[in-house]
Subunit: 675 residues, 2 copies
């Protein structure tokens, strides 16, 4: 806890300090002619108390691992965060605040993950910041349980989150907060901005929940009815929250847009500038006499957290020095993991693991290959932190070194998320953002739909997160079309910065895992079969080329026809090629487990794999054909599935929908016969 100067004789009043946040927010929104003044003006008093008296952080080093985390889940109130960061001394200048919502500024409309200036996560899509905060608090708890030693609480910080009505209406709040209760994340402290207003107006018409009772039902410590404009009440609530070993929800009654005399308490303050007249009136009401983007020196001095922050970090560094002396190996490992670095011997370890898998070809489902890869890699990577949305035995995400985490035994590395795909993914994002872990989580590919926007935020933030998505096609069989993904590979492929792997056998699966582990700047979707697939033969060059996303798996010389396939359809393409070769055709089979990786290769490499001179091309994937047009061209053909599946044994479905070597060969012959 920072020593508070708030009772010094000459300190500006708390209300003045909060008004600095209000003025910056209303002025920046007014200047941008776009934005959300209501929330910052409503939560300014709460923010002032939290950041002044409680938040332990160092603006001079936003990456200090033991800083408290602060998440603005109601991200539309971004100006509150920017005001706090600017005034506290982070690298966010007043000029950046003037440039709020302008091209290239560090002050986008909604906060975007940027540790240079202290933004811990990207928020705006409601409810997700809350799930990130749960992930951060969980990461803190388990990292502490793993690394702390008597006298050395080297991992020991709080996670604070601001929430609005919208966050609490969203379903993800249910998923994430239920888990936070189960896991007893006592250092998670959330502030509910209970202002009674959402975009459509007074929430009474559509949000009748007894929210305190709801959170008590989750096992939370709830502080209802706190006056969000009474700093003493807020401070006392935070003290109480910190003293409790359950996660806490502080329900703060606030007035949205507080200080804008004619608009406060109304949805009109939510998402639009107040207007010049109302901004002027608010200045009068608040007694804020300074022009836009000016904050008087005494307030600046008060807000500046750099001195206290440097001292806090220095104190922790001292602790780390002692810890390093007493526990040198632990300390080195903690430092490595917090830095997000793979082990020094990772490359040779991974090479050997891949070689062992290549040397042990097995017909098996790629979800089983995924488990083999996990078992191969995990011994070198204690930072792997995984789980499943209640499909552990199906996703095969529990490896030999997995230890299930519970409230009582937090030093685990495996999470039973229950049936909560979206919450799981938001929590995994939070774990990745916290640092110290490489998170992965499993569900059926079809239910990536439920988690989709959290995967998108991982891609937008550029964080390492691995989605293990099994049962990847009609090969799922009898569970039927509700559970059979058809369009999901395509819909994940079109997401920017999402890397999608659909490997064809154990070796490609292991390469995909390795690529996902080594990818520091974005998420990966591993798309895996339920059903067994045979191993393919590869020479050393082919083995090396798997990581390029596509490569020639079969066939030498310039072919008459190219078959392109991914995942379970690669073996099918190979069988079709055998039929065609027996008839004297020169056929190349290209395995394309990762379309995006291939598209990022040099033009020479792409031309070598898919020569422009060969227009006879046939792509095979038991899923949406849409993205394959690009690779087969207008003269090519696609064996895909552009309709929903059926409930039946997998083999019958493949037969019915044309995924047999014979049927593929028929189409290939048509192509070969065409002039």
């Amino acid at each position: 806890m920072v020593t508070s100067p708030s009772n010094a004789v000459d300190a500006p009043s708390r209300r003045e300090r909060a008004n600095a946040l209000r003025a910056l927010a209303m002025d920046a929104v007014q200047k941008a002619n776009s934005g959300h003044p209501g929330m910052p003006m409503g939560m300014a008093d709460i923010a002032e108390v939290l950041w002044t008296d409680f938040l332990c952080h160092n603006p001079q080093n936003p990456r200090w691992p033991n800083r408290d985390r602060f998440v603005l889940s109601n991200g539309h109130g971004s100006m509150l965060l920017y005001g706090l960061l600017h005034l506290s001394g982070y690298g966010l200048s007043m000029e950046e605040l003037r440039q709020f919502r302008q091209f290239g500024a560090k002050t986008p409309g909604h906060p975007e993950f940027d540790l240079d200036i202290g933004v811990e996560t990207t928020t705006g899509p409601l409810g997700q910041g809350l799930s990130n905060a749960v992930g951060m608090a969980l990461a803190e708890k388990t990292l502490a349980a793993t690394f702390n030693r008597p006298g050395f609480p080297v991992v020991d910080h709080y996670t604070y989150a601001f929430l609005g009505d919208g966050c609490l209406m969203e379903g993800i709040s249910h998923e994430a907060c239920s888990l936070a209760g189960t896991w007893q994340l006592g250092k998670l402290i959330c502030f509910y901005d209970d202002n009674g207003i959402s975009i459509d107006g007074d929430v009474a018409g559509w949000f009748g929940d007894d929210t305190p009772a709801r959170f008590e039902a989750y096992g939370w410590h709830v502080l209802p009815g706190v006056d969000g404009h009474d700093p003493d009440a807020v401070g006392a609530a935070i003290e109480a929250a910190r003293a409790d070993d359950r996660p806490s929800l502080i329900c703060c009654k606030t007035v949205i847009g507080k200080g804008a005399p004619n608009k406060q308490g109304s949805e009109s303050t939510h998402g639009a500038p107040l207007g010049a007249d109302e901004v002027a009136a608010a200045r009068d009401t608040l007694g804020w006499e300074w022009p836009p983007f000016e904050v008087p020196a005494d307030l600046r001095e008060f807000w500046d957290a750099t001195t206290a922050g440097v001292a806090s970090e220095a104190e922790w560094q001292e602790l780390m020095t002692g810890y390093t002396a007493e526990h040198p190996e632990l300390a080195a490992e903690l430092k490595r993991r917090l830095a997000g670095e793979l082990p020094a011997d990772w490359n040779s370890f991974a090479d050997a693991a891949l070689a062992a898998i290549a040397a042990d070809p097995q017909k098996e489902a790629t979800r089983k290959s995924s488990l083999r890869a996990l078992n191969a890699f995990a011994p070198a990577l204690p930072e792997l932190f995984g789980g499943s949305a209640d499909l552990t035995g199906s996703n095969l995400t529990l490896h030999n070194g997995s230890v299930v985490l519970t409230a009582q035994e937090p030093a685990g590395n495996y999470l039973h998320f229950g049936v909560r795909e979206f919450g799981m993914t938001g929590i995994l994002n939070g774990i990745a953002l916290h640092g110290g872990y490489i998170p992965y989580g499993g569900t059926f590919l079809v239910f990536a739909d439920y988690a989709r926007n959290a995967l998108r935020l991982a891609a937008l933030m550029g964080i390492r997160q691995i989605a293990v998505l099994t049962h990847d096609s009609i090969g799922l069989g009898e569970d039927g079309p509700t559970h059979q993904p058809v369009e999901h590979v395509a819909s994940l492929q079109v997401m920017p910065n999402m890397r999608v792997w659909r490997p064809c056998d154990a070796f490609e699966t292991a390469v995909a895992w390795r690529d996902a582990i080594e990818r520091p700047n974005g998420p990966t979707s591993l798309v895996l079969t339920r059903q067994g697939v045979p191993p393919q033969q590869r020479d050393a060059q082919q083995c090396a080329d798997v990581s390029r996303g596509a490569y020639v798996l079969r066939g030498t010389g310039m072919p008459d026809l190219i078959l392109i396939a991914s995942g379970s359809e690669v073996a099918l393409a190979v069988s079709a090629a055998e039929l065609l070769e027996a008839e004297g055709h020169a056929v190349r089979v290209v395995s394309m487990p990762c379309m995006k990786q291939f598209l990022e290769q040099s033009e020479d490499y792409r031309e070598a794999v898919l020569p422009a001179a060969v227009a006879r091309r046939l792509a095979v994937e038991a899923g949406s054909p849409h993205l394959w047009h690009r690779f087969v061209g207008q003269d090519g053909r696609i064996v895909g599935l552009d309709r929903f599946g059926e409930s039946a044994p997998a083999a019958e479905l493949f037969e019915h929908f044309g995924f047999t070597p014979e049927k593929v060969a028929v189409l290939a012959r048509e192509l070969l016969a065409a002039t």
Copy 2:
């Protein structure tokens, strides 16, 4: 209420009757060697009481509009539903039960909407059936409020839903049940199968909610701790639920797989056959002496609900006869709406409305055009039932005839869903399934992600549901990349049976709305701009061709180059064409508001719009380029966006990302210069 024969002297015991369901489930799963016996065996006693003593339905006419609705939200227990339907007398033969999970059977792994046999909705993706049930109960309540008259409760039925732990862990349960409480859906009665088990095992490790307290926080009537194997207790709970004017949750303690002596109470019964030995042991335990797929005559007789059902419907028909005599216009309108038919004069009305819109060209955002279209069509369509996920003023979904529905005033046609996109969409699905309404719901296009799997189920079921998805590109501007869809048009396009419209101006928007309204067998996504777009000029043929999905908007004769665009980029393409024409190039502009509609046109029409002879093609869309490769071919180019956007004013973003006539013309000239 059906008169219960359950106390007749010779009637088989309730337990025997329930055991028929258990046996059918375990035997069908065993035969299929795939499926979920645990839930049917656990909930058989509850189902027996509900279907015997309470459910009002007519197996002879599964489309009887006033039937009680029964939703199996924990859809993996499909054999319970199939057993109930078969034994009650629906058109589902024992042979179909034998063919459980086999190709072409009416008994897929998870229930699929099929009114021929009484399956009310497609379930399996957990939590969504519950949201459908909320929609059905809401539809009943508002339809009753609209059409019932003193002495004529012609719309008067219950909606029952079975739920598992998984349904209640999913976030959508929070969204849907909060609304059900707010709307006071007193005729919604849910049975929570509280068996303490999910796929990963004992739920205590990941589901610590006090569920009764949680639902009380939503304003529900909760009956905790009911013994789900005690028919009297279940019956009393249903009576109490029906007597309460809040939605009811009956929490039933059950044993999963009850009757399987060695496996009951364990997750091993959830998703796999019991095995021949355990099936035999269960026969002993249950005292069920009949071979697989045999049910003795006395039990069959008991279960047969056809006589009672025919009598119930006859009673209602009598009521309708009186209603028709006293309120002929209301009755005719109710019948039309329940039949899902558009008004008799719809075509001429819609033609006139389109003509009026064509005659009043305005530069405006297509979301505003959408509101104009709604205002034009809604007076003829009282069945339009809309809402927004807390973005009413942004989505512009509230038309001049909208009346906001509340618990106290249920005869409305507009819903404030709050910030609940997934719940909204599941509820809209339920409204569509109930009948009497054409539902639509608004959110930002980017948040279609949150609702994605509910849109998928609408597509899979083939039901009429309209998603109003506004702020469709970087044109959203300052709110930044979290709110700017990039990949969303593509990701909706690849969903089977989802029709996506991205209109370029007011006229195309109105055509899109009309198409969505007239489409009986699937959902439509209307993708609309935030920013203004100019009106395009069209002759009568062009106006007629809009509904074909793509058409030549500009240019005559065989062109040197084709520009293809959709939505806000059509005007840009036209401007680029003007630049190129001034240089002497013959340029055609194709507007393609609906890719799938175009692909369904005749080959002749497609060739006429996009002649194979013209290989110089340039597609322009401020979004994912991936699907355009198909239309431009390998010689063509695409001006798209394959990365996330930025927070800045929209005009600057279009400029920055290359969406200006000048930049498009530069690429076009490169194409024209290529040999």
